[in-house]
C-alpha cells in the first residue's frame, strides 16, 4: 500500500458456487475451517468459480474510481468484500479510514422502521452521539427531500425515496471511503444531478469514491480512473473514458462467433465476397473515405444494377445504403464492382455489410450477399472521447454533416 492510498486491493480473489446445495455445504466447511489457524488454500472445489480473480488496484484520498463491466462481472462482489460483508478467499484488502457503502439502494434499511429510525440506527452504528444524530437527521431529511415521509415505515417508500434516503444517509455520515453500487439509477434527474454535485464536493474534501454504474455520464463526470472487470478479472485499467470505450468495444465484439456460410446460388450470378477498405488511414473511421467492392462470378453475361446496405451488427436495423440503378453489362466469369463513400457517416462500432446484384429490367435480385448467410463485418474505429462515448451510450449510428451558424 503506497503512503497516500486509502484503499489498496492486492491479488484479491473470491470463490463462489452457483449450486445452492453445494454452496450451503461449503458454507459449513468454510465455517468449520475458521477454527483452524491456517488459511484455507485457494483451490476451487466442484461447482465453484472465481467471482473475483487476482484483482489489484489502489485508490488515494480525493480520487474516484469507476468499476465497469457486464452483469455478473464481479462488481458487486468486489464492493461487498471491500465493505467487509464478505471475506476474501485470497489476497488482501487494506483500508485506511471509515467506509460506508450503498449496496442495492437502501435494502440495508429495516423496512419496519421509519426513515427517522433507520437514520438513527445508521448513526448509532457509526458511533454518533445523540446531538450528532439529531444534526445528521436534519441534514439527511433536507438533502433527501422527504420531510413528509420521514416518520413513515420505510416499506411504504417508493424505490426513488429509498434511494434518496440511502444516499443522503451514507453521504452525510462523511466516510473516508464511499462505495456506491448502482444506486443512482433510481431517482429523478434532478436528484441524480444533486448527488453528482454532492460527490464532487465530497471528492474535493479528500473523500475517496468507488462507483459502480452503467450510467456513462455519471462515470465520466465523476471518475478520472476506471477498471473494467470481466468474469472477475481486471481486463483493462486506465482513464474512465478509455475504460468505458473498452467496455463498449468488448460488448460489440461479443457476438463475433457468426459463421460464414457459402452464398446459395439463386441465379446466373453469385457474389463471392464483399470488401470494405479504408482509403485515408489503415482503419475504417467516421468521416473518412471508404471503398466498397463486391466480387462476383457470372455463369452468363447479365445486365444488372447493384447496391449495398449497412446494418447494425445484430442485423435488425438497416442504417443506410446506396444503389446504383444504372445498367451494368457484366460479362461471364469473375469480376468486381466498386464504389467509394467519400465521408463515412457511421459512428464507432461494429456493423454488417450486405450487398445485392439485381436484374436491370425487373429489379429482382439475382445475387444476394449477407441476407440468408453471414454478412461482411464492418468495424468502425473511434477514439475514446467524451463525444464518442456519448454516441455509443445513445446507440447513435450515424452522424450528419452540419454547417453550424
Amino acid at each position: 500500500m503506497t503512503n497516500d492510498a486509502v484503499l489498496a486491493v492486492s491479488h484479491l480473489s473470491k470463490k463462489y458456487c452457483r449450486e445452492l446445495r453445494r454452496a450451503l455445504w461449503y458454507g459449513v466447511v468454510d465455517t468449520a475451517r475458521e477454527l483452524l489457524p491456517s488459511a484455507s488454500p485457494l483451490t476451487l472445489r466442484a461447482g465453484e468459480f472465481l467471482a473475483l480473480d487476482d484483482v489489484s488496484f489502489e485508490v488515494r484520498a480525493g480520487e474516484s474510481l469507476a468499476i465497469v463491466g457486464a452483469n455478473g462481472a464481479g462488481k458487486s462482489t468486489l464492493l461487498r468484500v471491500l465493505y467487509g460483508l464478505l471475506k476474501p478467499d485470497g489476497g488482501e484488502v487494506r483500508l485506511r479510514g471509515r467506509v460506508e457503502a450503498l449496496i442495492e439502494l437502501g435494502t440495508g434499511f429495516n423496512p419496519l422502521l421509519t426513515g427517522r429510525e433507520n437514520v438513527g440506527v445508521g448513526a448509532a452504528l457509526y458511533g454518533l452521539t445523540r446531538r450528532e444524530t439529531d444534526a445528521l437527521l436534519d441534514e439527511v431529511v433536507d438533502f433527501a427531500e422527504i420531510s413528509d415521509a420521514i416518520d413513515a415505515p420505510v416499506q411504504s417508500y417508493s424505490s426513488g425515496m429509498k434511494a434518496r434516503l440511502a444516499y443522503a444517509l451514507a453521504a452525510h455520515l462523511k466516510p473516508d471511503i464511499l462505495l456506491v453500487d448502482e444506486v443512482l439509477a433510481v431517482g429523478d434527474a434532478a436528484f441524480q444531478r444533486k448527488c453528482v454535485s454532492h460527490m464532487h464536493a465530497y471528492l474535493e474534501r479528500g473523500g475517496a469514491l468507488l462507483l459502480v454504474s452503467h450510467n456513462t455520464y455519471q462515470i465520466q463526470s465523476l471518475c478520472r480512473r476506471g477498471i473494467l472487470l470481466d468474469r472477475g478479472r481486471i481486463t483493462f485499467s486506465g482513464t474512465a473514458i478509455e475504460t468505458l470505450n473498452h467496455m463498449f468495444e468488448r460488448r460489440l465484439g461479443a457476438d463475433d462467433a457468426m459463421t460464414r456460410i457459402a452464398a446459395p446460388a439463386i441465379g446466373p450470378i453469385v457474389i463471392t465476397d464483399v470488401l470494405a477498405e479504408p482509403l485515408q488511414s489503415d482503419e475504417v473511421r467516421n468521416g473518412e473515405p471508404l471503398r466498397i467492392t463486391i466480387r462476383y462470378r457470372a455463369d452468363e453475361p447479365v445486365d444488372a444494377a447493384w447496391g449495398f446496405s449497412i446494418w447494425t451488427a445484430d442485423q435488425w436495423v438497416c442504417v443506410c445504403g446506396a444503389s446504383d440503378l444504372r445498367r451494368r453489362s457484366l460479362a461471364a466469369g469473375d469480376g468486381e464492382l466498386t464504389c467509394v463513400v467519400p465521408r463515412l457517416p457511421l459512428v464507432g462500432g461494429r456493423y454488417s455489410l450486405r450487398a445485392a446484384i439485381q436484374d436491370f429490367e425487373t429489379k429482382q435480385p439475382l445475387a444476394l450477399y449477407g441476407w440468408h448467410d453471414a454478412a461482411a463485418t464492418l468495424d468502425v474505429r473511434t477514439d475514446a472521447t467524451l463525444l464518442a462515448n456519448a454516441q455509443m451510450q445513445l446507440n447513435q449510428l450515424v452522424t450528419v454533416e452540419v454547417e453550424w451558424s
Binding site: 475458521e34 465493505y83 467487509g84 440506527v121
Partner: protein, 273 residues
C-alpha cells in the same frame, strides 16, 4: 488513521484484534437493538385484532388444558403442594421464557436476511432486539400470574425478589443454545424445524405440568434445576441443586456461541445474499 485489513486468514490468528472487534460491535449493539425492539413492538400488532392479547393466549390456553386434564384425572399427575393452576402457570411462564429465547436468535437473523447481506448492522444488535422481545413477553405474562396469585390467594415467598435472576438464567440458557444453532440454522431450514420438534419433546421432559420426580431423565435436563429453583423462589419450597452450575454453563456456552457466530458470519452472508 486506523487501518483495516481483510484477508483469507482465520480471524483467530489475531485473537486480540478479533476480540477487540467483537466487543466494539457489542458496545454498539444495545443502542441499535433498543431502536429495533421499540419499533418492532409497535409495528408487530398493527395487523392483529387482538393485539397484545396474543402474548398471553398461548400460555393461558396451555395452562387451562392441563388444569382440565389434571382435574378430570385423564392422566395421573401427582398432586402439588400449591394449587395446580398456579403450579402450571408458573411452570409455563418459566418454560416460555426458555423456549422463546431458544428460538429468538435464529428467528431474528432469518427475518433480517435482507439487512445483514447488505449492511453492516452487527448481528449482536439484531439478536439482542430478540432478547428484549422475550423479556417484554415475559413481563406481560408475569402480570397475569400476579392476578392469578391474588385470585387463588397463594402467598408469595420473600425470595420472589430473586425471580428476575431465575428467569434471566432460563433466558440465558435458551439463548445460548439458540445462538449455537444459528450458523447451521441460517444455512439449513432443517434446523429451525428440528428446534420446533425438540422443544415439544423437551417440554414433556421438564417439570412444567408435573412435580419433579426423584430420579430419571427429567433430573438430567438442564432446564429442570433452573425452573424448579425459580418456581420455589416465588412460591416457596425446597430449591433444586444445580442452579449455579447450569447458569455457569449457559454463560460459557453463550460466549463460545457468540464468538463462533462471528467467525461464521461472512460465510453465512456469502450464502444468503
Amino acid at each position: 488513521m486506523s487501518e483495516i485489513v481483510y484477508t483469507s486468514e482465520s480471524e483467530l490468528r489475531y485473537p486480540r484484534r478479533f476480540l477487540a472487534e467483537a466487543f466494539a460491535d457489542l458496545r454498539h449493539a444495545p443502542g441499535v437493538a433498543w431502536r429495533l425492539f421499540r419499533s418492532h413492538a409497535q409495528a408487530r400488532h398493527r395487523r392483529t385484532a387482538l393485539g397484545y392479547l396474543w402474548l398471553l393466549l398461548p400460555t393461558l390456553a396451555t395452562t387451562l388444558i392441563w388444569v382440565y386434564v389434571q382435574s378430570r384425572r385423564i392422566i395421573a399427575i401427582e398432586t402439588t403442594a400449591i394449587p395446580y393452576p398456579i403450579y402450571v402457570l408458573t411452570g409455563m411462564i418459566c418454560w416460555q421464557v426458555f423456549v422463546d429465547a431458544l428460538n429468538a436468535p435464529l428467528q431474528q437473523l432469518t427475518a433480517a436476511r435482507q439487512t445483514i447481506t447488505r449492511s453492516r448492522v452487527p448481528h449482536e444488535a439484531l439478536i439482542l432486539a430478540g432478547v428484549f422481545d422475550v423479556l417484554l413477553n415475559c413481563a406481560v405474562r408475569l402480570l397475569v400470574l400476579a392476578a392469578a396469585l391474588i385470585a387463588f390467594q397463594v402467598p408469595v415467598a420473600a425470595t420472589a425478589l430473586l425471580l428476575p435472576v431465575g428467569l434471566g438464567a432460563l433466558a440465558m440458557l435458551g439463548f445460548a443454545l439458540g445462538l449455537l444453532a444459528v450458523p447451521l440454522g441460517m444455512l439449513y431450514d432443517d434446523v429451525s424445524r428440528a428446534l420446533l420438534m425438540i422443544a415439544t419433546f423437551w417440554f414433556f421432559l421438564t417439570p412444567v405440568i408435573y412435580p419433579t420426580p426423584a430420579a430419571g431423565i427429567v433430573r438430567l435436563n438442564p432446564v429442570t434445576p433452573l425452573l424448579d429453583t425459580t418456581r420455589s423462589w416465588l412460591l416457596g419450597g425446597t430449591t433444586a441443586n444445580g442452579f449455579a452450575a447450569v447458569t455457569f454453563f449457559a454463560i460459557a456456552t453463550l460466549i463460545v456461541a457468540w464468538l463462533f457466530h462471528r467467525l461464521a458470519r461472512p460465510h453465512l452472508v456469502a450464502r444468503l445474499g
